[in-house]
């Protein structure tokens, strides 16, 4: 599987290496070349640039990508790049990591796949505090990804 990951922070770099270890073709993008110090696995391809720039995404092989994952620390960069990946490059599967719950929900409702890790972490911590066993992701984020047939943000929608 070809996977393009935007953002080489902790989440992005770990994800890249987990997938590369399973022999997937992984390219990671970050505007700061320094961020690649987190990547020890030489099989992970690295591209320097910003993820809302089509030329950069092309260089990362977005046209052949099966999956696009946006995990920069900017919610809006993740939202915009995910929309470019799906709407411009028809990447079949994509997900934006979002910190702001209201933004994550608003975009989920218009068909952009988002996962709000703040909600996820807060829910897990709450259950820990209350001595409740941890549930599935679905218990913390509802729904975790957009469902098919959701309205698109087109035209005057």
């Amino acid at each position: 599987m070809k996977v393009v990951i935007l953002g080489c922070g902790r989440a992005g770099s770990i994800l890249a290496q987990l997938l590369a270890r399973d022999s997937h073709d992984v390219t990671i993008i970050d505007y700061n070349a320094d961020a690649f110090r987190r990547i020890a696995d030489s099989k992970v391809h690295q591209v320097v640039g910003t993820g809302i720039d089509v030329a950069v995404l092309r260089r990362a092989g977005i046209e052949q990508a099966d999956v696009f994952i946006a995990v920069t620390n900017g919610d809006n960069t993740n939202i915009m790049s995910t929309q470019i990946a799906t709407r411009e490059f028809n990447v079949p599967k994509s997900l934006a990591r979002i910190y702001d719950p209201s933004r994550a929900q608003a975009y989920r409702e218009i068909g952009v796949n988002t996962i709000c890790t703040s909600m996820l972490a807060a829910g897990l911590l709450r259950d820990f505090v209350l001595d409740k066993p941890w549930g599935s992701v679905l218990d913390y984020i509802d729904p975790p990804v957009a469902t098919q047939g959701d309205a698109q943000m087109d035209g005057e929608a």
Binding site: N76, S81, Q83, R87, S102, R103, A106, I110, D154, A157
Partner: protein
């Protein structure tokens, strides 16, 4: 008319000042605390603290009753999200985004943000106009540059001088919409005789611009 401007940089600042001068009801959102203090000193209570893509600040600013939302931060991704959220959550009828990278304009269109302003492209077009030595000079771009309004100078060497407009073999995707002569503009018929010194205004599909230029050169 209630206008909300997000982003208190230079564009946001001057825009707010202009609109206040025209008696619009205006709110300007700025998330940087230091910039906010400056803006509040200069513009007063219309300047509100907060991030224009966060719902609680959008509520405070009254996005629900805004007639127009203008996103003019320096970051295209922020401007996109501000406009999309304004449309999606608050049904704001008119949203306008500043786009910094010309390549992003088409995505904004695709993602439902129809009105964009791109200063990079405007300045680029102005430079192109001043350095263009050809007889055809672009005046304005329509439909994200798919069509152009151009100005054509008819010189004495031009092969069209002395011919009627009907006799001129224009490319199929070009239309002469005005002939400027002697300080007057005329909407031409096919019978008009073209003269040295005429200036023609044409609507042309951008791809046909070169073909149009060769007709008059």
């Amino acid at each position: 008319m209630y206008v909300i401007i997000v982003g208190g940089g230079k564009v946001g600042y001057y825009l707010t000042r202009e609109l206040l001068g025209q008696d619009f009801e205006v709110a300007l959102l700025e998330k940087d605390k230091r910039r906010l203090a400056y803006l509040q000193t200069e513009l007063g209570e219309v300047v509100l603290p907060g991030d224009g893509c966060e719902v609680r600040y959008m509520e405070d600013a009254g996005f629900g009753r805004a007639d127009v939302v203008v996103a003019v931060t320096g970051d295209d991704e922020d401007n996109l999200v501000i406009c999309q959220m304004a449309k999606k959550l608050y049904n704001v009828k008119r949203v306008l985004a500043r786009v910094n990278d010309p390549a992003n304009e088409q995505f904004f269109q695709k993602l439902g943000i129809r009105t964009t302003v791109n200063s990079t492209r405007i300045i680029y077009n102005l430079i192109e106009q001043t350095i263009e030595s050809d007889a055809v000079v672009p005046l304005a771009a329509l439909q994200q540059g798919e069509y152009e309004i151009v100005e054509i100078s008819v010189s004495e060497k031009s092969p069209v001088v002395g011919h009627t407009l009907m006799q001129v073999n224009l490319p199929p995707e070009a239309l002469i919409v005005a002939v400027l002569r002697g300080g007057e503009a005329r909407i031409p018929t096919g019978a008009i005789n073209l003269e040295n010194g005429d200036t023609l205004i044409a609507l042309v599909r951008s791809e046909a611009e070169e073909a149009l230029a060769t007709v008059f050169a």
